[in-house]
Symmetry: C2
Subunit: 206 residues, 2 copies
């Protein structure tokens, strides 16, 4: 079996817009709120479908076990980080695909689990000062009484190497801290969800 | 007073690495976990300080009021989104600046509030398939008994136009949904925190 630890970056070089397939850079001219013209530099994805305003989805898939809710997480080597990242299942929208279909498809392909959408967040932007890349968070419930979830088998593409695991939702934050200390990199959306749970606990939010 | 609604993008053009000051693109060669050589395209910031592995911080600043905890939020025109974005206070690290100092400085400059750091998250990556940009989440407590917090005065730079407001932590998620419906764009880290609070509530996490 492939070992994620064996993946590594061996070289990198400057990339121009004309040679790039997936990413691009732009200089924007904008009028600030006082009417003064200013410049801004940004990067974006070229993969967004024509006429779409959405790049992708992130999936909070929850298994309700007898010991409490478990959240499905992934380890994946990410070349931009030169490291293995801890993430939620996620993916880019296919042309004409709905957000909900995309979430269920990506969950099935990446983890093997069949789920049901319970909530979709508003559209959210990953790093608004730097890029327009965006995604919806989709909450998905995974019913372990469904026979198809007894032996989930991912259908990974030949360039995808993903390890799936679960942690108790209640202990998400502690688990991410531990994984970060062990050298894994953390996805910001996932760590922010963990921080939200932490804030809830700290301030007794009901 | 400047009206954020008046800001707008008037033009954009392709930007090359050699003409960019703040952003860059690279093609990476990496070995996948099976030892096969593959390509990946990525964007990143040029502003990261030499020898640093960190771009910036996001600040969850909490005012403990008699009516419960309030979270400090911002409206800011973001050229990459061509829209006003709802965000937490945030900023990039100055060279040799600590994460905690940066958080307290940015909070003071952007909102006028003086705070105390109560927690720092592990480092987290904004969009790991696309870029290596990253940040720490820093929780900051704002004591309203501190006289300096009675009339907070931001110290904005001449290219910064930021409106500060607060919402009850408990109602963060509903407020973000409403603002999104009103046409504001949402920062993903902030919306993910709101989703974490929502998950806590839904699953009765203690």
């Amino acid at each position: 079996m492939a070992n994620l630890e064996d993946a590594k970056v061996v070289a990198s070089q400057e990339l121009s817009n004309s040679k790039a397939t997936w990413v691009k850079m732009e200089r924007i001219k904008y009028l600030d709120p006082m009417g003064k013209e200013r410049d801004w530099e940004m990067a974006s994805r070229k993969s967004r479908a024509a006429k779409s305003d959405v790049d992708g989805v992130g999936i909070i898939a929850i298994i309700e076990s007898s010991k409490g809710p478990l959240v499905i997480l992934q380890k994946q080597f990410r070349p931009p980080l030169q490291a293995i990242c801890i993430e939620m299942p996620a993916g880019l929208l296919d042309p004409n695909e709905s957000v909900e279909s995309c979430a269920l498809r990506e969950l099935r392909e990446e983890t093997g689990y069949i789920g049901k959408v319970t909530y979709r967040s508003p559209l959210m932007f990953n790093d608004p000062g730097f890029t327009n890349t965006n995604m919806y968070l989709v909450f998905v419930s995974v019913d372990m009484k469904d026979e198809r979830n007894q032996n989930p088998v991912p259908e990974l593409e030949d360039n995808e190497f993903i390890e799936t695991f679960t942690v108790p939702l209640e202990e998400l934050s502690q688990n991410l801290e531990r994984l970060s200390h062990e050298g894994y990199k953390l996805d910001a959306r996932l760590q922010s969800i963990a921080s939200g749970i932490q804030l809830s606990r700290q301030f007794g939010v009901r």
